[in-house]
Symmetry: C2
Subunit: 182 residues, 2 copies
């Protein structure tokens, strides 16, 4: 632990594990001096892809979130499976949308949840797009649609709750500010 860390770690144990997450419970001394526990979720780092066409429209997919039990619109992405980032991003984009991109830019690394998770998410912009030969069906996600949408329409969809998931909205913030710099 780093020297400016206001917490002290006493011990740590794994309390649950599956192929995607490990949950550990740390015994800690709080910044206040009190003893207690902290449950932390460890999961693979992930990638999320903003695929932009010539009109700067971004490609959204409609998928089902199992934890939330709802259909919603989001940017394609997923766990990086320990692959090199650009390779993982290309795979996720082609599997979920059938799109192949020539030009890739990494525009930010963020954390998904401040208080509970270790997961980092890398946002990439994909440009110079073409349509690949096939869309691989994934076991994990059910995707039933996809479309290019202007950033103005994206903003309307966020306000209307049609896009409602923080990983996608975080990537949209990064995308808008990256485009403003161009």
């Amino acid at each position: 632990m780093r020297s400016d860390n206001p917490w002290k770690l006493l011990s740590s144990k794994t309390v649950y594990q599956n192929p995607w997450i490990r949950v550990r419970e740390d015994s800690v001394i709080h910044p206040s001096g009190k003893e207690g526990i902290y449950g932390v979720i460890e999961s693979k780092d992930s990638v999320i892809v903003a695929a932009l066409n010539e009109k700067n429209e971004v490609y959204l997919i409609r998928s089902f979130s199992y934890p939330a039990q709802i259909w919603h619109w989001e940017l394609p992405g997923g766990g990086s499976d320990g692959e090199e980032i650009r390779l993982a991003s290309k795979r996720e984009l082609e599997e979920e949308t059938g799109i192949i991109a020539e030009t890739w830019d990494e525009i930010g690394t963020t954390r998904v949840s401040d208080g509970l998770m270790t997961e980092k998410m890398i946002t990439l912009v994909a440009r110079d797009l073409s349509i690949g030969s096939k869309i691989a069906k994934e076991d994990e996600n059910h995707i039933d649609g996809g479309k290019f949408v202007s950033l103005k329409e994206v903003s309307r969809m966020v306000t209307a709750g049609e896009i409602n998931e923080g990983q996608t909205i975080t990537a949209l913030y990064l995308l808008e500010h990256w485009l403003q710099k161009d």
Copy 2:
């Protein structure tokens, strides 16, 4: 489960629980037809507050993320503890910053993590600010600074990685688009 749900739930069990989170493991049939498991993290819904002064600068706090083991800048907020949203928001804002706000607007409900968590986050804008009499020290967070920052400087801080956490960045997207509508 809803009728357009492409997953089938076979059974569900709690595999870990502490006062803040419950981890459950569902036995499921994937959209593909295969049998498998899905680990889901349940946690309290949370609030996050963008406190704006007359210059539309937003108040950031510097705090330590235990899961990430880093200091970073973020918007104040936290678990809603089952309280009514506005009450929870007022409490979090005053505890973490000492600021009291007269005017409150709820500007969006989002989900923190698409694939793993059930947590919903409500973003509020707080205006007509004054400084309260005290800052309560919290056990859970260690906060060592706070400041009002322009949205342009916020964008620079995100690009530089000084703000790097998705819940804050999600709220910033909502805030910018809400201000553009005003």
